[in-house]
C-alpha cells in the first residue's frame, strides 16, 4: 500500500515550515503548495514515499522540474559539524582552544542584516535565485554572523531555510499521519485531541488485532472472532486506527508485491479498479469475523475521515475491505429495535409474479428497501447476540451509559479500552467500579436473592436502580495517562524540545470483562494478614467479600 505513490491516492506533503498538507496527486494535474510553488503530480507518481524533493527553477529538458534531495545533503550541516567535532577531539591541544563565543556583541535589532526587505524580495523575483541561493546571500550579508554561537547560527540558518527553500517531502497518509495532521492543521477537538501515544495504547489495551485469515473457522473449537465494538466520536479516526491494526484499512493490499510495469499510459492508471458488475454485487457488512461494529448516536455514523483511506461511507467502494468488515448501527437499533423506523417496519416479501409485473423503478425501490431492512436486521441481531471480543470507546457520551449497554455484549476475558481527553468522566467511571461498590452490589444481590420466594425469581429492580452498572462484570479497572516528550538531538546540543502542544492531556481506561458465577462464592486468602479473619456466620460484612482486584 505504501511502497510507492499511487495515482489519486491521498498523501501528505510536509513543507519546510513543518506544515502538513493533504494532497491527492491526480495524474496530469498541478499540485499547488502556496508560497513554496507548485509541481506536476506526474513528477512524484510512482516514486517511493519519504523522499524529499526540491523544486527546480529551470526544469530538465523533458520537463521534469524536481530534484531528489539525498539524505547526505539533508544531514549535511550536522554531518560537517560532527566531523569537525571529531577533528577537534583528535588533535585539539588543550592550550589552543577556540575562544568560546557568546552573544555579547550582538544587538537585539535588525541592524546586523545588511540586506533590506526590498532587496530580499528582489532576490526572490530574480529568475535564477533558488531558495538555497537566497539563504546563502542572506547569511553572507549578515555582518555579525561570525559572532554567533554555533547554536544561534544553526537556529538562524534553519529559520531562513524554512522561509525560502522550496523543498517538500511526500508522506503516506496513514492513521498516525492523519492524527498529527488533525492535531496540527485542523480543529483538534474534532478528533478529541487523540495523539499517537493514545492511539497505540487504546488499540493495545483493547487487544485489537487481526483475526487471521477467514479459514480460522476451519479450526475446531475456534469460532470466528475478532469482532470489536467501536464507539467513535472522532469522525472515524478511531475506526481507522482499529481497522489499521486489523488489516482492513488499506485497499490495495493484494498488489503490494507487484512491480511497476515497464511501460503503459498514465491514463490507464486513472481508472479506479473496475467496479464489480451487479451480478457480483458484494453485500455490505457481511463479514463474520475480523469486523468492527460501530454504534453511533446518529442514524448514520459519522465516519467522514475514512474517505482519506479510500472509503466513502456514502458511496462505498465495494472492493474496499471496510465494505464488508465495517458494520454500523445506531444505539436505537441496538437498545430498542422495535422503535427503530427501519427495523420496526419490515417491508413485506412480494411473490415473484407480482414483482415481474411491477415497473422497474418500483421494483428497484422494493429491492432497496428489502435489502436495507435485511442488512440492518442482520447487523442488529448479530450485535444484540453479543460475544464481542473487545470494546473500544472514544466518545462524547457519558462513559457509564456506553458501558451499561456494551459490556454485557462482550465475551468473557475480552478487553474494554476507553479514551477520554479529560480525566473527570473516567474518574467517575472508576468510582462506579470501585471495590466498595462492587462489594455492596454483591451483598445486596445476595440479600435480595435470599429473600426471594421459594422457587420464584428474586425482584432485583431495586438493585438495578441503585447500581446503574453491574460492577461484577468488570475486573481490574485501571486509569492511565501517557505522554510522549520529544527531544532535539544535535551534536552537543541535546535537550528536550522547548515548546510543545498543550490542551487535552488524554487518559485511558482499561478493564477486563469477566463472567461471575451464578453460585455465591466467597473470597479466601490471606490478603489482609494483619487482621484476624472474621468468621461470622453472616458473610454480609464488607471486608469478607472483597473481590480480588
Amino acid at each position: 500500500m505504501h511502497s510507492y505513490i499511487r495515482p489519486s491516492q491521498y498523501c501528505v506533503v510536509q513543507l519546510p515550515s513543518d506544515q502538513l498538507k493533504i494532497i491527492q496527486p491526480v495524474p496530469n494535474t498541478i499540485v499547488q503548495l502556496g508560497k513554496y510553488g507548485s509541481f506536476a503530480a506526474n513528477q512524484i507518481l510512482g516514486r517511493p514515499f519519504y523522499l524529499t524533493f526540491e523544486i527546480l527553477d529551470t526544469p530538465e529538458p523533458d520537463g521534469y522540474g524536481l530534484r531528489i534531495v539525498s539524505a547526505t545533503e539533508l544531514h549535511a550541516e550536522t554531518l560537517i559539524e560532527e566531523a569537525e567535532a571529531d577533528g577537534e577531539g583528535d588533535d585539539g591541544e588543550p592550550g589552543e582552544e577556540m575562544p568560546t563565543r557568546t552573544n555579547k556583541g550582538i544587538n537585539d535589532d535588525n541592524s546586523a542584516q545588511r540586506l533590506t526587505m526590498e532587496e530580499i524580495e528582489e532576490l526572490k523575483k530574480e529568475s535564477g535565485a533558488a531558495g538555497r541561493d537566497i539563504v546563502a546571500k542572506i547569511m553572507e550579508s549578515h555582518s555579525t554572523i561570525d559572532q554567533k554561537t554555533a547554536f544561534s547560527l544553526a537556529k538562524y540558518t534553519l529559520r531562513k531555510r524554512k522561509k525560502y527553500i522550496k523543498r517538500f517531502t511526500i508522506i503516506p497518509l496513514d492513521v498516525s499521519t492523519l492524527a498529527n495532521y488533525m492535531l496540527a492543521e485542523k480543529d483538534a477537538g474534532r478528533t478529541l485531541e487523540l495523539r499517537d501515544e493514545h492511539i497505540g495504547l487504546l488499540g493495545c489495551f483493547g487487544n485489537v488485532h487481526s483475526a487471521g485469515s477467514s479459514n480460522v473457522e476451519a479450526i475446531p473449537d475456534v469460532t470466528p472472532n475478532g469482532r470489536y465494538i467501536v464507539v467513535d466520536d472522532t469522525g472515524g479516526l478511531i475506526v481507522a486506527a482499529m481497522a489499521e491494526r486489523m488489516g482492513i484499512l488499506y485497499p490495495h493490499d493484494e498488489d503490494e508485491e507487484e512491480d511497476l510495469p515497464s511501460s503503459g499510459d498514465a491514463n490507464q492508471e486513472q481508472q479506479v479498479p473496475a467496479k464489480p458488475s451487479r451480478r457480483q454485487h458484494i453485500q455490505g457488512m457481511s463479514a463474520s469475523g475480523n469486523t468492527i461494529t460501530v454504534i453511533s448516536a446518529q442514524a448514520q455514523a459519522n465516519l467522514s475521515l475514512l474517505k482519506y483511506f479510500g472509503y466513502d461511507t456514502n458511496s462505498p467502494d465495494e472492493t474496499h475491505p471496510l465494505h464488508t468488515h465495517l458494520k454500523s448501527l445506531s444505539w436505537l437499533q441496538l437498545v430498542d429495535p422495535s422503535r427503530d423506523p427501519i427495523l420496526s417496519a419490515e417491508p413485506p416479501t412480494l411473490p415473484d409474479e407480482e414483482l415481474a409485473e411491477m415497473k422497474s423503478n418500483k421494483r428497484q425501490a422494493y429491492y432497496f428497501k428489502r435489502n436495507r431492512y435485511l442488512k440492518n436486521k442482520a447487523v442488529s441481531d448479530e450485535a444484540r447476540a453479543g460475544g464481542f471480543n473487545g470494546l473500544i470507546v472514544g466518545t462524547l457520551f457519558e462513559p457509564s451509559s456506553v458501558l451499561k449497554h456494551a459490556v454485557p455484549l462482550l465475551a468473557g476475558s475480552s478487553q474494554v479500552s476507553i479514551y477520554s481527553p479529560n480525566i473527570e468522566p473516567l474518574v467517575e467511571l472508576m468510582d462506579l467500579y470501585s471495590v466498595a461498590r462492587r462489594t455492596a452490589y454483591i451483598n445486596r444481590k445476595r440479600d435480595l436473592e435470599s429473600r426471594a420466594p421459594v422457587g420464584g425469581e428474586a425482584d432485583l429492580s431495586s438493585l438495578y436502580e441503585e447500581f446503574t452498572l453491574n460492577p461484577s462484570l468488570i475486573l481490574s479497572p485501571s486509569l492511565h495517562h501517557t505522554r510522549v516528550r520529544p527531544w532535539q538531538v544535535l551534536p552537543g546540543r541535546t535537550h528536550p524540545m522547548m515548546t510543545g502542544r498543550g490542551g487535552a492531556e488524554g487518559y485511558l481506561f482499561h478493564a477486563i470483562r469477566v463472567i461471575p458465577t451464578e453460585e455465591s462464592v466467597q473470597a479466601a486468602g490471606n490478603f489482609r494478614k494483619k487482621r484476624k479473619l472474621e468468621t461470622t456466620s453472616t458473610p454480609a460484612s464488607d471486608k469478607d467479600v472483597v473481590m480480588l482486584s
Partner: protein, 485 residues
Amino acid sequence: MPSPFLTPGTTAQPNDITLLHLRRDQALPTILRDYDEDNMGYKEGKVANTRFGSFPHSTMINRPWGSQIAASKVDTGSRGRRGNPAKRKADDLDESGATTTGAEEDTPSAKKPVAAASGFLHMMYPTPEAWTLSLPHRTQVVYAPDYSYILHRLRVRPGDTIIEAGAGSGSFTHAAVRAVFNGYPEEPQTKKQRLGKVCSFEFHEQRAGRVREEISEHGLDGLVQVTHRDVYQDAFNVGDPKTGPSPKANAIFLDLPAPWLALKHLVRKPESGESPLDPSTTTHICTFSPCLEQVERTIRTMRKLSWLNISMVEVQCRRIDVRRERIGLDATGIRGATVFPTTVEEAADKLWVDEQRAKVSRTAAKVKHGAEESNGEDDTFVLPESLREKPAAPSYSLGRLVHRSESDIKTHTSYLVFAMLPREWSEEDEQKCRQRYPSNKVEDPEESGKSKKQIKRELRAKFEQAEKAKKATEQQAPEGNVEAS
C-alpha cells in the same frame, strides 16, 4: 494449534496457556492440562495452587474464558507421603520409601473435584499486556505504554515482518506478533499474501532458549522465529548468518546496548551478502536505549547511513489511582478516613460545642460537690446544624472522589529513537517512472472532456513550444553570464 494469544475461541481448551488473575498487576500463568503433567500426585490431575485456594485444571477446561472459578478442596497434604523423589527435599528422601503405600501409587482416573467453602479466581486468556505483567523477568521489560507507541510509530501492520534484536524477556515479542499476525502458516492460504512474522534475535543462549520454549508453549511457532545470534557480528539473515535468506523486514526494533554496531547491517546494500530489509517498502526503525550517550551515538551513525526523519522521544506513562477521600468529624472509626472538620463553620461550631460541653460538665461537677446550687438554668444546648447526624448514605458514595498518580511511577524507561529508510531509488527506476508519468503532461481539469486526438495535438504543440522556449533560454544564458561578470 491456534494460539490463545491470537485466537482464543470462547472456551479454554487443554494445552492452552491461561492466566489466573491474582491481583491487578499479578496473574499466574499456567498451561491447562487434562492430565497430571509433572506427576505431582494430586488426585484431581494437574492443580494450580494459589493463596486463594487450589484450582484443579479439570474445573477450568471447557469453561468460557473470563469465568469466575470456585476453588476446590484438594488434598495437598497426603500426596507428600506418596514418595515422589523429584518433588521431595533431599533430607526427606529416606522417609518417603517407608510411607509409600501401593494403593496411593496409581489412581486409575482423576478424582472429581469437590468445591471448597471459599476462594475463587478469574481465568483469562492471555494478552500481551497481561503477559508483560506476569512473565518471568530475565531482563528489563518493555512495557505496554512503550511498545504500543513503538509499534504504532513503526507502522507495524498485519502481514509485516519485524526484526527484534534483544528478545530479552519476550514482552515486546508477544506484542509484535499480535501486531503482524494475519494468519497461521500451517493454514492453507486462499490468497497470495505475505504472512506476518517476527524475527527475534537474542545473543544470550539461555534466554534465547527460554523465549523459544515460551513461544512454543503459547502456540506461536511459525509466527516467531527465535535465533540465538550476536547481531553485531553476524547480522540479521535468518538461519545461517552467511547464506541464510533475508527476512525482508519492514520494521526493526533494537533493544541492544550498542545499537550503532548493528546498524551497519541494516542498510540497503550491506558489505556482506543480502540486505535484511524489504526492498519494496520503507523501513522503519526504533532503538530503545536508557542513556543519552547511546542515543547520540546511534543517531550519529543513522545520519551517516542515510536514515531520514530521525527523531527521539521518551514516553512518560503513569497509572492513576482513584479513590474516595473521607474527611469529616463524623468519619471516626473508618479506615483511611481523616477526622477533621470539612468547613470553617464546622470547626467554629465544634469549638463552640466543646466549650458548651465543658461548661455543662463544670457546672455538673460543681453541683455535685455542693459548691454551687443548681441555678435552674437549662444545661442542655441545641447542637448546631453542621454537627448533627446526617441521613445515612451508602458508604461507597461517601467522601470526595479524588485521583492521584500511583505511588511508584516509572519516571524513565528508555529513550526511543525513530528513523526511516526510504526504498532505494535508482536512476533507472526514475527513468521508468518518467516514461510512465510524462513529466510535462498536464491537463486542465476543465479540459478533461476533450477527445484523445485533441489532447495529443495540444500536447505536441505544448512540447514544441517548450522546446522553443528552451532554445531561447539557452541562447540567453551566455548573455546573462556576461552581464553577471
